[in-house]
C-alpha cells in the first residue's frame, strides 16, 4: 500500500526557542536543510533558493510558508519541478501536486520533541482533481490499495 503521510518524531536536546529559530530563521533553516535562501520566512509568501547539492545547484527549491505559530507550529507547502535534469530543467511548479510539511514543537524535560509530517503525496493537481473527483473523495486511495494488494499477490 502507498502511504499518503510521512511522520517523524525526534527528541532534540535543545530548548524549544532554539529549535524554533533553527526552523524559521531562513539562514539557519538553509544551513541544515541545504538550500541557499535569501528572503525571510513570512506567512503566505513564497520563498525560493538554490539547492546546495553538487551538480544540482541549478535547481530551485520553492516553498510557500503556510503557518507560523510561535514555538508551536511551522508549516509550508512545496512541489517538485517536472524534471531536475539540467537540460530540461525549468523552475516550473504549476500543476504539480504540492505536499504539506508541518513541524510541531513540544517542550519536554530534556529539550524539545519535534514531530514532522509530510502529507498529500497522492493529491492531484487541483484542476484535475476537480474534474475527476465529483463527490468521490477517498476513492483513489481505496482503489490504489486494491490495485497494490492485487499486484502484490499476482506479480
Amino acid at each position: 500500500m502507498v502511504p499518503d503521510k510521512i511522520e517523524k518524531r525526534i527528541e532534540l536536546k535543545a530548548p524549544v526557542a532554539r529549535v524554533w529559530q533553527a526552523l524559521t530563521d531562513y539562514h539557519q533553516f538553509g544551513e541544515w536543510f541545504r538550500v541557499a535562501l535569501t528572503e525571510p520566512f513570512l506567512v503566505s509568501t513564497t520563498v525560493r533558493g538554490h539547492i546546495l547539492h553538487p551538480g544540482y545547484e541549478h535547481v530551485v527549491w520553492e516553498a510557500r510558508i503556510e503557518q507560523m505559530i510561535e514555538e508551536e507550529l511551522f508549516s509550508f507547502t512545496w512541489a517538485q519541478p517536472k524534471s531536475l535534469a539540467k537540460e530540461h530543467y525549468k523552475p516550473d511548479y504549476t500543476g504539480e501536486p504540492r505536499t504539506l510539511v508541518e513541524f510541531w514543537l513540544q517542550a519536554t524535560e530534556n529539550g524539545t520533541l519535534l514531530t514532522v509530517t509530510e502529507t498529500g503525496f497522492s493529491k492531484l493537481p487541483d484542476d484535475r482533481r476537480e474534474q475527476n473527483y465529483k463527490g468521490n473523495d477517498g476513492g483513489w486511495a481505496q482503489q490504489m490499495t486494491n490495485i497494490e494488494v492485487y499486484l502484490g499477490e499476482h506479480a
Partner: protein, 119 residues
C-alpha cells in the same frame, strides 16, 4: 536530503503516475489489466461498459489508455493484426520506493538539524 528527492528517479515523475491514477475509468482499466492480463481496445471498452455501466466509446478508452501509456503503466503490444494493451506494474512500485526515499531523506535532514541545534 529532502530537497533533491527526485535525483535518482528513473521512471515517470511520481506526480505523473499519481495523476494517471486519479480517474475512475483509468483505475478500472488498470484493475482490469492487472486481473485479466493483456486486452484489446474492444475488450477493454466492453469491460468498462459492463463494470461501470458507462457508455464510453472506443475513442474515449483509447484516450485514457494513452494517459496510462504516458505514465508508462500500460504498454501496447502487437499480436498479429491486433493491438493489445498490458500493464507494467513498475511505476506503482516506484511510487512506493519514492515514498520510502522521501522518508529516508527526512531522517538525514533531521539528523543534520539535531546536530545543528545541539551544538
Amino acid at each position: 536530503m529532502a530537497s533533491t528527492r527526485r535525483l535518482r528517479a528513473r521512471g515517470p515523475a511520481p506526480s505523473v503516475v499519481f495523476a494517471a491514477l486519479g480517474d475512475e475509468t483509468r483505475l478500472a482499466l488498470v484493475a482490469r489489466l492487472a486481473a485479466g492480463g493483456a486486452a484489446s481496445i474492444t475488450e477493454l471498452t466492453e469491460h468498462s461498459r459492463l463494470a461501470r455501466q458507462s457508455r464510453l466509446t472506443r475513442q474515449a478508452i483509447t484516450k485514457h489508455l494513452r494517459v496510462l501509456q504516458r505514465a508508462r503503466m500500460v504498454r501496447c503490444v502487437r499480436a498479429g493484426r491486433e493491438s493489445r494493451f498490458e500493464l507494467d506494474p513498475r511505476p506503482l512500485s516506484e511510487i512506493e520506493e519514492y515514498i520510502q526515499r522521501v522518508s529516508r531523506e527526512w531522517d538525514a535532514a533531521l539528523a543534520r538539524l539535531k546536530a545543528f541545534v545541539e551544538d
